[in-house]
């Protein structure tokens, strides 16, 4: 499948996930957990919007840069969110969604590498 089309789908999935995370914000029992989830939701929303634009325009190196950024930040979010401090009923859902996002961008980077796009030279 075309890399740009696939990236577009991936970004669309991320966009949906970020909206779901925004939707579950009121169910957080801890204000710090809520702020943390708000931050990651907005970050995912913004990078998904940027990514959709890059995919639409066929800008491969920018898609790759966006993918690196998402993987980096989302894994940081997961690392902190496993802390008992961020205890929240929505935690399993949040970790599941962000883990899926991490996996799809690792797959996307792999596909970019297979397509000989420079994934280390931005």
């Amino acid at each position: 499948m075309n890399f740009y089309r696939l990236s577009l789908y991936f970004f669309a999935i991320q966009l949906v996930f970020s909206i779901i995370l925004l939707g579950v914000l009121p169910f957080n029992s801890n204000i710090y957990a809520m702020y943390h989830t708000l931050a990651i939701s907005l970050f995912m929303l913004l990078t998904a919007a940027m990514g959709i634009y890059f995919s639409w325009k066929g800008q491969g190196s920018r898609i790759v840069a966006d993918a690196w950024l998402v993987i980096s930040i989302v894994t940081a979010y997961i690392a902190i969110n496993v802390s008992p401090f961020f205890n929240s009923p929505m935690k399993p859902l949040e970790i599941a969604l962000t883990s899926i996002v991490t996996v799809i961008w690792i797959v996307d980077l792999y596909l970019a590498w297979r397509m000989k796009l420079p994934i280390l030279k931005l």
């Binding site: 840069a65 690196w68 980096s72 930040i73 940081a76 690392a79 008992p84 280390l120 931005l122």
Partner: protein, 453 residues
Amino acid sequence: MERRRRGRFFFDDYSLEEVPSVERYGLYNLFLTLSASFGAIAVLFAGGVLGGGLNFVDSTIAVLTGGTTVLAIIGALSGAIGAYSGLSTYVGWRFPFGRAGGKILGFALITLTTGIGWFAVESWFFGVVMSEIYPNNPFFSVWAAALWGGALMILSTYIGYRALSFLSYFILPQHVWLVAVGLLLAISLHGGWGAVLTAVPKSHMTLTEAITDTVGLYIAGSLIAPDITRFAKRAKDAVIAWVLHMYVFYPFLILGAVAIVLLTGSVIITEDMLKLGMGVGVLLIIVLGQWIINTVNLYSGSLSFTNAIPIRRDISSIIVGIIGTLLAAYWGYTAGASLAPFESFISLLGSLLPAAGGSVFAEFYIVRRYFDGIKDPYQRFKLEPGKEYSEVNLVGILSFAAGALAGFFVPGIAAINAILVAFFVHIILAYVFKKAHIKYEFGKYVYRGGVVR
């Protein structure tokens, strides 16, 4: 032929020659790689020193008007030289100091200090932190963790700029997020920003002392910026990336640490985060932070080592890295050994670096431009194969000595004094020698194109 050439240069990273335009990177890469190179943990600890003596408003003034602006200017000037010349800092030093002068200064001021000294200290510290997080585990004892941590850092340095890029893409945003969340949480739980603004420091520090500290923390990084910016596609990218990272990350991290100290009296943000139960986050901050900063330390150390002793940079990274790692493991094994005398020694050597920077600025921006009439900045520090260059540049050596003395003896901000004195002495001496037709460049060597085995 192409394959041989690729093999020769793949890990050598153009250590003794100009980085070709096809191997250069864009603004985003430069921004992340430079940001990664300052090491967030060191900045957090430096913020602790400020917070111990100044209130938050004064600290902000010291950091923004003093430290950040001064460092942004120096790093931009330095970074632009790297982008124009495509040469590492130490190969570039062949112009103001001559080849022999550049080799000796590079080896003394960078290989010994950053490459071996600070690499060993950071590796040892990595071992200490690991043993505190996982006590009673032999794999995480100080000497064992220093050994495997050092090996990990040597591996990424062996690969070179590509590995540094990878670390930057993946680790830097993650690192900043982890530290930011930790800082914001710790501040929120200790009374919030209102309490930060009204908090009174425990001791007193003058604004000049604070600016000296903030400048001194990162002056070495600013002056060896060409090690990274030589990979910039355009000088403009190098300058923008430098200034941007100075104004985005540096004040945020240092002022965050100031806030923590003012509220809690403890700068050890990682301890605060551990108390919050953020075990994995803290582990990532320490491991990744140390990994990045030590890769940069060793990368510069290997470049300066290769400049002094012409072997491939990847090989020199192993040599320098093994010496540093063994030192760290030895300190870890002989628990109780004090690092203070060693740290004083490498700090002393490191304090001479700004003087070298002043001479380089004078040579590139004034002497080559106005005295030698080379308008094109790409030609000012250009090494051409088959052409003769000098072994020793007396003007550079004398101006370096004058700058170093000023750094030690003139009151004020030592690093700035050293840079300014070396800068003006270099210009004056070059002008006088040229007007009087006195030869100040001695010895000749023919540049062979940076071929190393």
